[in-house]
Amino acid sequence: MTAAPPSRPLPVDPSIAPPGTRNFRDAGGIPADQWHADQNGETLVPTHCCFCGVQCGMYLRVDRGGKVFGVEPRNHDINRMRLCPKGINAYQQVNHPDRLTAPLLRHSRDEPFREASWDEALDFTVSEIRRIQNRYGNDAFGLLGGASLFSEKTYLVGKFARVALKTRHVDYNGRLCMVSAAGANKLAFGIDRAGNPFSDILLTDCLLIAGSNVGECFPVMTQYLWGARDRGATLIVVDPRETAIARTADIHVALKPGTDSAFFNSVLHVVIKEEMDDESFVGAHATGWEEVRDKVAEYPPERAAEICGIPADQIVQVARAFGRADKAMAWHARGIEHHSQGVENCLSVINLCVATGNIGKPGAGYGTITGQGNGQGGREHGQKSDLLPGGRSIMNEEHRRQICAIWGIEESELPPAGTSMMEMVWQMQRREIRGLIGICNNPFVSLPNYAVVKDGYDATEFHAQFDFFLSETAANAHVVFPVTTWAEDEGVMANAEARVVKHNKAQEPPAGVRTDTWVICELARRLGAGAKFDFPGSREVFEELRIASAGTVNDYYGITYDRLDETGGIAWPCPTTDHPGTPRLFEDGRTYHPDAKIHMQVVEWHPPMDPYTSEYPLSLTTGRTVAHFLSGNQTRRLGALVEQTPRPWVEVHPSHGFRNGDPVRVVTRRGSEVFPALVTEAIRPDTVFIPYHWPVPTAANALTIDALDPRSKIPEYKVCAARIEPAERVDEVPAPPTAPGREAYPEAQVSRADPLPPTSPQGRGTAERG
């Protein structure tokens, strides 16, 4: 070891930089009146990432001309300067050549798009809404929102559907994301959010991660996992694949997809058998314990081991690690939620936490990791088919009255609950829904069983889409409204910890682009409901949202934009403007049910909906990669991310006899597609995996099954029966759609020669010698 060299004088004294710039140590936000440009004319605008539910803080670098041109890490409480590749490259969407800058319009799907004026596009849309609703009834027109929208916009989507369109059919793409966890949380605790903040992970003694590839889908959360590991916490990962976090876990349970609740029931079985449960906690705070205890008695490790395809002693190990830990935590994500028994899976995890007394304490609790940036906030304020703002139920008389009073409508005018996103597509197929507006979602890639989705959308008489790139779904529409990216508007999102954070506006939208808020209010005005949609911007919407959520479980009333600027984020419920927020739930031992108890629910495992036969012996499971986000509409156009992961593949175990890169046809009951093989021992021999970010003919969701959880209506993405066979050549990745007259941006073009991941991160045009 050599001695440290003497420290050297800095070439430039950082203290001469104006305040508010390059201030790399600030923990919260900077009020807008203190954003100064530095000597180079560069301003750092504090905001958050537009992608996943971690909601990392970042600065957007804005040049002298007011254009976003880069990113700078920000020392925000959530991520402490850290970012993942999606977050680093997110800014490249903002001034991307593929941005839509004028409304696109066509009267039939046989015609090409043409650019139209805003007035023409809006008027045509309104006339189609009127025509369809006059002829077929109000409910023949549907609205599909998104969970990447700011909470203000999700509130507007729900209000617009019920007040302006007067339709019951409104839902959102969070239905594909985490409604199973939402349903389970609501049943068990009467409140729908994670029980603990991320920082509690650093305090825990045993951390169970179920069905979450944290290292790729929520990379920045990994620092908390490793922080717990540094303290000596036991890490248990439940995942059919040996992911980056499973690789170094103390126990990696590589169970067969679709068997999670059998596994967790069995873990609880062992916990009870070895008397590691916390009878006093359960007795004081829970109901339903006897029924749960009787049910899990039917799941001895030997039986569960057979169902899950794992060694029985692994179940015992997990039970001992979790049961004996002083403080234990369980976090889960889509891996256990994307099932026809998603709610049961989440409940079985909650039962385990409750039975061991791990609720409502620092370092002890449960949580679901939301997939979309506003996956949490997006379902709280009324764009879900069965909910009204503030998490109110649309079927509850009292709740309906409260919202009607705020909205100024008669209760008879408020439609009843609608159907879920996948059910709406089936209704389109059956011609029950004939018109649709989609706002920032891309079901052509993200919904299961593509053939049905395409059929349903093709059957609509009118379809309009809001987006800033022409998505695969928008390419099927009659009207496409060019709207803003997250960097061109302000608004709040709630992250996986239910911490409400504020995104700031970093630049003016390009000419011809409007905010989603403006478009929705303008449509409402032309539909004759303008008086109830008089919102100049997000700020005014948020004021109404605060009032609409006051007094509910999802209480935002105490959260204001100014407070968010000062604090960098407040966890709801926050009932008053001097309330600090609620980062950790149930610290007072009370849940949000009327009896203040935890309602434990009996969970029974059943096989997945797609039966295995000799013809379809394997499990097909799907998921995400680190470089892309959901349907890929935002990431498949950014050069660095395309280079990192240019195309999908099928992950297969070496026992199938394929070599890396071999074309492999994956066949399910819905269809077949050919992918290059990525041969790895890091997956179960009876399971194959395909990342789902790409459209047909390379879409995992052309193969998945549109079976739904009966309670949460989430599709069963994570397991269906499949077989694999050798093929001639792999299917090509299509270039992303672009507006008429524009070539796809070359960075987004993928050729057959593009390598499989893991690739060497060598820049294009750079070669090494040596």
């Binding site: 690789r247 893991p758 991160p761």
Partner: protein, 199 residues
């Protein structure tokens, strides 16, 4: 090792390539990433580790020693800079000399490029871009004391054996605490030179 330097901890790496993307954002070589992210067991596991320039101290910067154009300069605090564009002739001597395989040659521009510890940031007291964003702390920037305060009991190595040659570096590598051995094996032994077995 240097006072404030990068520590690489492969045990924390998740292969997300945030460092690769962040390196592209660095103002001194925007659009080009200088990080090498390697998968150590492809087909067996997802294990990966990033390699940045190790800023060799002894022998000091083999890349600079072999540069015929004196293009690679070493600062007083031990940072080995990337080639000075006014001097570099793109001969790739540095590529051949580097025991860690770090420098790259842009064949079109006939220029060498490599990690310079984000001198545009470290000169202002900021961490390099890669270590700033690394989601897991697989790349850590600071002093050894700061690292040990954050991760009690951590062991690091800053000397690597390539055959009989031991290279001491300014950047250090976290090694398993129960398998500390000095120096750390730094690559495969040389068995053949120009077709001749030299064992």
């Amino acid at each position: 090792m240097m006072g404030k330097t990068i520590f690489i901890d492969p045990g924390r790496c998740i292969g997300c390539q945030a460092c690769v993307s962040a390196c592209r954002e660095c103002d001194s070589h925007r659009g080009k990433s200088m990080i090498h992210l390697d998968y150590t067991e492809p087909g067996r596991s997802v294990a990966s580790l990033p390699t940045v320039c190790m800023h060799c101290e002894d022998p000091v910067a083999p890349c600079a020693e072999v540069c015929p154009a004196d293009a690679i300069l070493v600062t007083a605090d031990g940072v080995v800079q990337q080639a000075d564009t006014t001097r570099c002739i793109g001969c790739a001597n540095c590529v051949n000399a580097c025991p860690f395989g770090v420098p790259k040659i842009d064949l079109q521009a006939k220029l060498q490029m490599k990690c310079n510890l984000c001198y545009d940031r470290t000169a202002y007291g900021l961490a390099p871009m890669c270590a700033t964003v690394c989601p897991t702390g697989a790349l850590f920037y600071g002093t050894l004391e700061e690292l040990q305060a954050e991760r009690p009991g951590v062991q690091v190595a800053d000397s690597f054996a390539f055959g009989d040659v031991v290279v001491s570096t300014g950047v250090a590598m976290v090694v398993p605490a129960d398998k500390v051995q000095w120096p750390v094996p730094g690559g495969l032994p040389v068995v053949e030179v120009n077709g001749v077995d030299v064992r």
